[in-house]
């Protein structure tokens, strides 16, 4: 076999493997979209029997109906429950994302550049907190927030984000450690203190890391179910992920799967848009992380 035909064969095999992988990843999404556009009986059949057929006539009104059924406080105003849950999700996710980016980068700058006694042991302790499963701290945290009177407010979800996230602190620190020392010295000569260096030099340079942090944090927070369900008890405080749970019946089963899928796809849209917006920075940042460790 000649070199050229071997190369073509190799490409063909590679493409087939990649196409198969893509199909595996895309199938669940396609299934969701298909079911969300199906009539109720076809959707139920697809769920029970596991099969899947693209609907001959897409039922777009499923979406309107699904969003209308989110939440329980819809009296008098259409989609009120959905709007409340959407607003709650947006406010919490934006605040948590901003808090995580600001606090993690600030802490990372201190660990990477400020010489102080105990810096290394403190960094190790911080890394150690990554090993701690969330379930371990769940009850003590709940008691703490209850004593503070924060239950059924968004504070337990938002405030901790402003105290840094060990994983992102580590990521920022690795990036900041690569910034030439002379750049910070030039900034000091130009009249910047540590806060100015952080805000005017480090944060703009850390754009790729910030993109990763922001996307991961936003998506994680947007999709988070456990924390909101623990701390938010009133219906009007529910986030979208909690509100979606309203599609389950009292026995835990799902009767209107087509509506659940329609509502789920709607809640995915902001995450997809955010990822597309940050994609360039995101991929660049992941690449950098891979090279620089």
């Amino acid at each position: 076999m000649s070199g050229a035909s071997r190369s073509i064969l190799r490409s063909a095999v590679l493409w087939m493997v990649l196409a198969a992988g893509t199909a595996v990843f895309l199938y669940p999404l396609l299934w969701m979209v298909g079911v969300s556009l199906s009539p109720a009986d076809a959707a139920q059949a697809a769920t029970v029997e596991g099969g899947f057929a693209w609907p001959a006539s897409p039922q777009w009104e499923n979406y309107r109906e699904a969003l209308g059924q989110i939440g329980s406080g819809n009296a008098g105003e259409p989609m009120r429950g959905f709007k409340d849950a959407l607003a709650n999700s947006v406010v919490i996710a934006v605040l948590v994302t901003a808090g995580t980016v600001l606090s993690s980068s600030l802490v990372a700058l201190a660990f990477a550049r400020v010489r102080f006694r105990g810096s290394r042991p403190l960094f190790m302790v911080m890394l150690g907190t990554m090993m701690l499963p969330g379930q371990v701290t769940m009850i003590p945290l709940f008691i703490l927030f209850r004593n503070l009177g924060w239950i059924d407010t968004m504070l337990p979800l938002v405030v901790p984000a402003f105290f840094g996230n060990a994983y992102f602190v580590f990521m920022y620190r690795q990036f900041i450690a690569q910034v030439p020392e002379a750049l910070l010295e030039a900034a000091r000569l130009d009249g910047l203190g540590w806060p100015g260096i952080w805000w005017r030099i480090i944060l703009p340079l850390c754009r790729p890391v910030t993109a990763i942090t922001a996307v991961f944090t936003f998506i994680g927070c947007w999709n988070d179910f456990l924390a909101p369900v623990i701390y938010l008890q009133s219906d009007d405080q529910a986030t979208l992920s909690v509100a979606l749970n309203g599609f389950r019946n009292q026995y835990g089963g799902i009767t209107k799967v087509h509506l659940l899928m329609a509502a789920s796809i709607t809640t995915m849209v902001p995450c997809i848009l955010l990822f597309l917006a940050a994609q360039r920075q995101f991929v660049e940042g992941l690449g950098k992380g891979a090279v620089k460790g």
Binding site: A182, E185, R188, L189, G191, L205
Partner: protein, 380 residues
Amino acid sequence: MASIELRQVSKTYPGGVHAVRATDLSFRDGEFVVLVGPSGCGKSTLLRMIAGLETVSGGTVSIGGRVVNDVAPKDRDVAMVFQNYALYPHMTVRRNMAFGMLRRRRHAGMAAWLTRHAEWARERDEVDRKVAETARTLGIDALLDRLPRALSGGQRQRVALGRALVRDPQVFLFDEPLSNLDARLRIETRAEIREMHRRTRATMVYVTHDQEEAMTLADRMVVMRSGVVHQAGTPEECYARPADRFVAGFVGMPVMNFVDGRVEAGAFVGSGLRLTLPAGRWPAVPTGPLVLGVRPDRIAVAPGASPGGDALPASVRAIERLGDRMDVVLDAAGTRLVARIGNDDRLREGEAAHATVDVGAAHLFAPGEAGMRVSDSGDR
């Protein structure tokens, strides 16, 4: 503009490493001083202590008569040009140049900035005008809206110079600013820095490990090794009357030839050589072992066997041609000598030659790597 005074300044790092030992130096107002020495000699540490980027372990640093040991870098009114340019990658050339000046003015008049916005706008216009003017002087006015990554190394260094220049500081500090440039650009930028000094008449302190750069730029050079100042003087003084063997070996290219020996009956004897010392050159020659130092351009070489007298028989080990002249490496009775002479096609590698040393221009040093130079008639 300002003078700089260093009194018993020292720097000791944690772990007891002495980067700079008790050093006294004075830089006059408007003087161009070059700190020069091999890697790790403490020259950059000294510069960084003047800038305030490094704390002082002992002694005092004064700028313009004011002790600045505890003054923040931004309040010392110094500008620094770094080896790797240190331009802010996310700012355009214009913002890079204006940044420090805007920060300083904002600090100086924060209240005015808050209450009288029109005045601040005028200040900004003034900064813009000054940036444009400086950029024109340095020939970078076409680059003002570019980011540093879109510039060549030489252009980046010009921007770094412009950034320092535009602030109009009391003192300019340069930390090996030409090390990352190619040879030709280095010579061009060297001339520009010299021109910058002539125009501003500011006090400038420049660090380099390149003795040629130091010689061409300095009003006065400070030669350092292992945290100690070996000599501070004009380039001519350091070249013609080195304080010790280290300075003699460091300043001048090719490196000075050193021969171990002793003085006996008016002649220097050592390593198979015997050279008659001219009367009156060394009023008081100490007895015991000595080192003779002679610059390569003070050795004449001719082909063929020695005709006798003070001409030393030698063989040519290597010839390095430099275009208009050449370096000849000789083996004279087991002693390696390098001579820099005009082109001579009669000389051949491996063949016999003879060398004549201009002993009247030579130096005698006490033994050891940094042995002091023996006082001679030139010191009077």
